[in-house]
């Protein structure tokens, strides 16, 4: 997985001063977050469903080889094909081979994060196959040559005026003076343009939210209907998905479906939950003639059995992203990974490398909101701390930080010295701050004082000093 997370610290400077991005991120509070809150409050069984969902995924991961084999057998039995891909390159090649077999020139694509992860579009384009994204958000960012900045709302960073500009540049077939002010106008134009792509594509590619071992079905959960037109109209349907998505039965899927849409958009169910099983049957009037599933590993077995194992329970609902104060301040692109936010900061170092993505686990205040809202109860803060430990153990942290931590550790192991030091520092800071009680600059703390004052410790000494004197406040 190709990431640019090394630039995280530079990226955030641009992000926090981007007025358009600020506006877009501000809507998250009234949008996704408020809607999830209402949906969860309306379902008394939500907590019980979380426990059940966690247990189902834990069971499936513990027996992953068996359920993948059963899933594969069912797909084959139904006349479909399964392609195993250890890495991104192998997955992209499998998709291209299928496209070539069928002489495909254009493919329509439903939204798929795994396809983003393996950079399928770039690979297909390089090899003469034109992919057209059909999810509205994905379509917008494809035209703008951008990456998704959110896993369920890929164009959340783009404002409607920018979408209008993009459409004017890319849709010369419409009159130049047409109205494109309202979201409705923009949507209708995209709908018209994409209709012809749906009807003319040779191959349709979708992702999958779930795989059902019992039936060999792949499941997509969508709202726009683009994923359905993508898979129903062309002769060939390719599903690009990853190995941890398999669950044993439709009943297991029910529990996850009850959690997924509520956690993502606050809907009880998305408009379309679609189960695809094999190619069309001989007597069927429509549907694809060929059905291929590409099962991607790309680093996931490397997470199994490690302290990051539980992150494989993730159902990509984006609740952690929507509730993360860091994501809310810097947006998705700053992370330099197609998986941003708390879950992205956990899985990006695993799927790419800690060398590349070491900044991400540090981009967290460990406030715990992500874990509190995660429908799969993934202990995200704990995992971020694990990455920080790995980073330190592998000498990837900068020397200054290492020296600072070592100094702190030295003192922390000597309580008398520690108290002496903090007491002195506290008194000094109080004196420097004077009556204002705040410091506007401080040597070695420029990172903090550049953008805000540092509150000085209140007079009266440290907590320990007060405690000894018997003060309660």
């Amino acid at each position: 997985m190709h990431v640019t997370s090394r630039q995280f610290k530079d990226n955030i400077k641009g992000a926090v001063s981007d007025a358009n991005l600020r506006h877009s991120l501000a809507t998250m509070k009234t949008g996704f977050r408020a809607k999830r809150g209402i949906a969860v409050a309306a379902l008394p069984e939500f907590e019980a469903l979380r426990d059940a969902g966690k247990a189902i995924k834990d069971h499936a991961l513990q027996h992953l080889d068996h359920y993948l084999e059963r899933f594969e057998a069912k797909v084959l039995e139904g006349g479909g094909h399964v392609h195993w891909a250890r890495d991104a390159d192998s997955a992209c090649r499998a998709v291209l081979d299928i496209c070539r077999q069928h002489g495909a020139r254009t493919v329509t694509k439903g939204k798929s994060m795994v396809a983003e992860e393996i950079e399928l579009n770039a690979y297909l384009e390089k090899n003469g196959v034109r992919p057209v994204e059909t999810d509205l958000g994905e379509y917008i960012i494809q035209l703008r040559h951008e990456l998704p900045s959110h896993i369920i709302a890929p164009a959340i960073h783009v404002r409607k005026s920018q979408v209008a500009q993009t459409f004017r540049e890319n849709h010369p077939q419409f009159p130049a003076d047409r109205a494109l002010e309202e979201p409705r106008d923009l949507l209708d134009e995209a709908r018209t343009v994409l209709r012809s792509h749906f009807l003319g594509a040779d191959v349709g590619i979708t992702g999958a939210n779930l795989l059902i071992a019992e039936t060999g079905s792949t499941v997509i959960v969508t709202n726009e209907g683009n994923g359905d037109l993508t898979q129903l109209l062309p002769r060939v349907h390719i599903v690009v998905t990853s190995i941890e998505k398999v669950v044993p039965t439709l009943e297991d899927a029910s529990t996850i479906l009850r959690l997924l849409a509520r956690s993502a958009t606050g809907q009880a169910m998305s408009s379309y939950t679609t189960f695809s099983t094999g190619p069309r049957r001989p007597e069927d009037p429509d549907g694809p003639d060929h059905f291929h599933v590409v099962l991607v590993d790309n680093g996931r077995t490397g997470m199994l059995g490690t302290e990051f194992h539980e992150a494989l329970r993730c159902i990509r609902c984006a609740a952690c992203i929507n509730h993360c104060p860091i994501y809310g301040a810097v947006g998705g692109h700053a992370y330099g990974s197609v998986y941003p936010g708390p879950i992205g900061s956990v899985i990006t170092p695993a799927l790419a490398s800690l060398e590349e993505a070491g900044s991400l686990p540090n981009a967290s205040t460990l406030c715990g909101r992500c874990e509190a809202v995660c429908p799969m109860k993934i202990p995200l803060p704990r995992m971020l701390r694990h990455w920080r430990e790995h980073e330190f153990a592998r000498h990837l942290t900068p020397p200054r930080m290492r020296w600072g931590l070592r100094l702190w550790a030295f003192a922390a192991r000597r309580p008398a010295l520690y108290r002496l030091g903090t007491g002195m520092a506290g008194r000094m800071l109080s004196r420097m701050a004077g009556r204002r009680g705040r410091l506007s600059s401080l040597p070695l703390a420029g990172g903090w004082t550049q953008v805000r004052d540092l509150p000085a410790p209140p007079p009266g000494g440290t907590f320990m000093a007060r405690y000894k004197r018997g003060q309660t406040h």
Partner: protein, 230 residues
């Protein structure tokens, strides 16, 4: 190539889980778990008397921005026509070849453009649901010789006929219906449809009518006096 990737992935999983291939008794146990179809947590909104479930289905479907009309058996065609006229929509319709929808042609109030797969130009599609799920106001549509899946997606206006007897409580009950309908395994496409298509991709403002239908109208056919569907 694929063969070796398959081994790499499966062996990688086993190595990571610190074990070899699962022993046969364990595999048999897992297969039994798959065959059992045991339900997990079924919410209270998925339970109730049949009358309660029908009422809940209509409410939750409306909450998902579908419109609903309940009609006596035999008046499906009139209900479809009334809806189309009320919304100033064309009365030319593409209708699934399901024999339960034959009545739409008889009355002569609708122009049935075709029976079966729609073209990109058909503006109104009429289909028949396998079940209605009360929990979330969801329609279960199963593909088959008489029910093309594109009919659920291509036309601007999607009208679905569902029988009151086919209303079930929750997803688990819907799976039971599906297994009874297709014991050999699910049809190619099973759509669970909850309201019309929508998107929030532009500034998180929800717009109905994205790539799929702009409107979803549900025609609920009442049971006959003796409790059976016509």
């Amino acid at each position: 190539m694929t063969g070796s990737d398959r081994d790499t992935v499966l062996n990688g999983i086993r190595a990571a889980l610190k074990r070899g291939p699962l022993p046969d008794p364990t595999r048999a146990e897992l297969d039994r778990r798959m065959a059992d179809h045991a339900a997990h947590v079924v919410p209270a909104i998925a339970r109730g008397t049949h009358a309660e479930l029908v009422r809940r289905f209509l409410e939750t479907a409306e909450a998902a921005a579908a419109t609903v009309a309940t009609v006596p058996p035999g008046s499906e065609g009139a209900a479809v026509e009334r809806f189309l006229r009320q919304h100033n929509l064309p009365t030319r319709v593409a209708v699934a070849a399901d024999p339960r929808l034959d009545g739409l042609e008889d009355r002569g109030v609708l122009t049935v453009e075709r029976r079966g797969t729609p073209t990109g130009d058909d503006l109104v599609g009429v289909a028949h649901a396998l079940a209605g799920i009360a929990e979330t106001g969801t329609l279960m549509m199963a593909s088959g010789p008489h029910s093309p899946s594109t009919l659920n997606m291509l036309p601007d206006t999607h009208i679905v006929v569902v029988r009151q007897t086919d209303v079930v409580g929750g997803l688990e009950d819907a799976w039971a219906r599906l297994r009874a309908h297709a014991p050999e395994g699910p049809p190619r496409t099973v759509h669970l449809i909850t309201g019309p298509s929508r998107t929030g991709d532009i500034e998180q403002t929800i717009q109905l009518g994205a790539h799929g239908p702009r409107r979803l109208h549900i025609v609920m056919v009442e049971d006959t006096a003796d409790g059976a569907a016509v």
